[in-house]
């Protein structure tokens, strides 16, 4: 998949140090060659436990994380990294369309999601963004997030249990707007122009959505995932 939202050059200081975690050797070498000299691939791992160990030793800027890994999935790596090495950031990568898996990795701590069909330059750009502390929402992830939060829209207000922090439970209209534009294939720059805001504000909105996604304790999010799983 191409993600126009990730295109557009971005000034990144130096080459980000990257670890690729994927159980397919062929895919790892493919990514390595596609990334070329723009990033520094410092290590590779194929399973959860060795990956966490390697990340702890090398402390890379970005971990390219496959969603489906033997031994607990990318979710387990993301959670361990968040707990032990919070300065390391994860970018989820997957060939799967199953939204609940993607959302689970994001909720475990990954700061973005792209599909494996992404082009080399787009992937480099995404890695730079993640390394710089931004989050990367591909159109597909934006769609998943809209879906997840739409599923808990206040229409069925009756049975909704009051959450600890209601702020976390809903996306603001502006955040929804930004997500929709990402899903429509707009770049951050185009979104900024469309909404008459700065690119930095767009990034703030996206980070805020990411935070809500990760911190929301609402059971509806879990329920949404479970319903998807059953569908």
């Amino acid at each position: 998949m191409t993600s126009p939202g990730l295109a557009g050059p971005r000034a990144g200081g130096g080459r980000p140090r990257v670890i690729i975690v994927d159980d397919h050797g062929l895919f790892r070498s493919g990514v390595r060659s596609e990334l070329g000299d723009d990033v520094e691939v410092v290590g590779e791992a194929a399973e959860v436990t060795p990956a966490v160990k390697l990340i702890g030793e090398l402390l890379p800027d970005v971990v390219l994380l496959d969603v489906h890994l033997p031994g607990g999935g990318g979710q387990a790596v993301a959670a361990a990294v968040r707990a032990e090495f919070p300065q390391v950031r994860c970018l989820a990568l997957s060939a799967s369309d199953a939204p609940e898996d993607v959302i689970a990795v994001i909720r475990a701590g990954a700061r973005g999601y792209v599909t494996k069909t992404i082009s080399g330059p787009e992937l480099v750009d995404a890695i730079r963004r993640i390394a710089a502390g931004d989050s990367v929402f591909s159109p597909r992830l934006a769609g998943f997030v809209l879906d997840a939060f739409a599923a808990q829209a206040p229409a069925a207000g009756g049975e909704v249990a009051p959450a600890a922090d209601p702020e976390l439970d809903q996306l603001t209209p502006r955040e929804r707007e930004v997500l929709r534009l990402i899903a429509r294939g707009y770049t951050y720059k185009e979104i900024a122009r469309e909404l008459y805001i700065s690119i930095k504000t767009v990034e703030t909105h996206v980070s805020s959505v990411l935070r809500k996604l990760q911190l929301s304790t609402r059971h509806q999010l879990t329920r949404w995932a479970n319903e998807r799983r059953l569908a």
Partner: protein, 484 residues
């Protein structure tokens, strides 16, 4: 990557139950989906383990209470008790109804059985008296069991033919045997079919024990079997011969035939059982083989064909990408959504399915990747079909004219409206100066939407690509399927 074959199996036992939920049934509860198998097999509700024989139960009962006792008299119609039965629970049922100790009743049955009367009475009672908790006995259930009756009739007629042939061939003694034998065989079929779950289990246990006799090739077992068969056969023939002298008695030939039948069952039954079991195993194997063949056919039609095509066209990257993408999409919809490859039919298609169909068709027809992101879903109606048609038009338009290497679709179903965006990053155009040949297309999109109360906005600028935004209001009162 982790191997994931997620066929649309409904629910998995042991699955995480998700977060807490206040009030109401848990999230996995759905009417009609009875995961716990309540009511699936009444045998499961019996407090008796599968490995426990009636002897164990008998011992358990004897050790617990005094030998003879007079219990409280029950009321209501008499029912066979399946709590601790020795055979069919008849004695216990009578005991519960009359208050007489069950052991006394059993002794009475055994004593009278020596003259064949007790046995017949017991069997009759077993057939006629319903198990406690039910209102119909085996006999009345058998009368209502149409398939069982048909089966019994078929078997009976077959036996009649065989026996008639045998007696015609000169074995005159077969004639005396025929009627009771036929009645017994027919009766057995009906009884086995209509016995309650636990009783069927018991019958199965007994036959399994017999089957195990043949499974082992120990000589002692075979000798024992033949011996038992010979004794039964001898007893049966003696009874039949005796009956020849006092022709008035019906019960004796019946008992004799039963013994002969028992002899046949003991000697040949295990063999029959094995044949039946082999047939069953063979059928299961055939079902599995068919499933595999079906799977292989699908994989061949889709994946293998595509791989072959990719190898042949390896010189044309664009085509290879297109083939791989189409294949990926098809495989995914098969694995994750449970749709068979190529089975995108109009019937029962939802809005999201329609968008995916556009994605798939336009891409494979025009060779330009189309990416759809879909949020929400709902049933199709005429308005939404018009929206899909307009969206398809816009997508084809973008693919044909924009020169972009990818076209994205974003579709969202909301409570009050459904929107669809088709976006490309191609050459774009100035909407104010639309070339003549594109006027019609724009009009067909706009016109289609307007006629249904929707709206179409086309935004484009030279060098910046094009976006067609389509919105269709939803008819009030319609809701999304499933929980919102």
């Amino acid at each position: 990557m982790e191997e994931r074959t997620r066929f649309p199996a409904r629910g998995r036992p042991g699955q995480d139950h998700g977060g807490p939920r206040r009030g109401g049934p848990p999230w996995w509860w759905a009417p009609g989906h009875d995961w716990h198998g309540a009511g699936a097999d009444p045998g499961l509700d019996e407090p008796v383990g599968p490995g426990q024989s009636w002897i164990d139960r008998w011992d358990a009962r004897r050790s617990g209470t005094g030998r003879f006792r007079r219990g409280p008299k029950g009321s209501g119609p008499i029912r066979r008790s399946m709590d601790h039965p020795m055979l069919g629970g008849v004695a216990e049922g009578i005991s519960a109804r009359t208050g007489i100790d069950v052991t006394l009743i059993r002794i009475a049955f055994v004593l009278t059985a020596l003259g064949a009367f007790g046995a017949a009475a017991y069997v009759l009672a077993w057939l006629l008296i319903p198990v406690s908790g039910e209102n119909t006995g085996i006999a009345s259930k058998a009368l209502a069991d149409r398939r069982g009756l048909a089966l019994a009739a078929g078997l009976g007629s077959l036996l009649v033919v065989v026996l008639a042939t045998a007696s015609a061939l000169g074995a005159s003694w077969v004639g005396t045997l025929a009627t009771p034998l036929v009645i017994t065989a027919v009766g057995m079929v009906l009884v086995v079919r209509n016995a309650t779950g636990p009783e069927q289990d018991r019958i199965r246990q007994l036959t399994d024990a017999l089957a195990s006799l043949t499974e082992s090739h120990e000589r002692s077992r075979i000798v024992l079997r033949v011996l038992v068969g010979a004794v039964l056969l001898g007893g049966g023939i003696t009874l039949i011969l005796l009956a020849g002298h006092s022709a008035g008695e019906l019960l004796q030939p019946l008992g004799g035939a039963l013994l002969v039948l028992a002899a046949l069952v003991v000697v040949l039954g295990p063999w029959w059982l094995r044949i039946a079991r082999d047939l069953l195993v063979e059928r299961q194997a055939r079902v599995r083989a068919e499933e595999r063949a079906d799977m292989a056919a699908r994989v061949h039609d889709s994946v293998l064909q595509t791989l072959a095509l990719i190898q042949r066209r390896s010189g044309d990257p664009q085509q290879v990408i297109q083939l791989a993408r189409a294949q990926e999409r098809e495989l995914r919809s098969w694995l994750f959504d449970g749709r068979a490859p190529g089975s995108m039919d109009e019937l029962g298609m939802t809005f999201a399915g329609g968008v995916r169909l556009i994605e798939q068709e336009v891409e494979s027809r025009h060779g330009v990747p189309v990416d759809a992101v879909i949020v929400g879903d709902c049933e199709l109606d005429d308005d939404l079909r018009a929206l899909l048609a307009a969206g398809r038009e816009a997508t084809v338009n973008a693919v044909k004219w924009s020169g972009a290497d990818v076209v994205s679709i974003f579709a969202e179903v909301e409570a009050d409206e459904v929107s669809l965006y088709v976006r490309d990053r191609g050459k774009g155009f100035d909407p104010a100066v639309v070339p003549g040949d594109r006027q019609g297309l724009a009009e067909s999109i706009r016109g289609r939407m307007a006629r249904r109360g929707g709206a179409a906005v086309i935004r484009s600028a030279p060098g910046e690509g094009t976006e067609v935004s389509l919105t269709m209001p939803r008819v009030a009162g319609k809701r999304e399927p499933g929980p919102a």
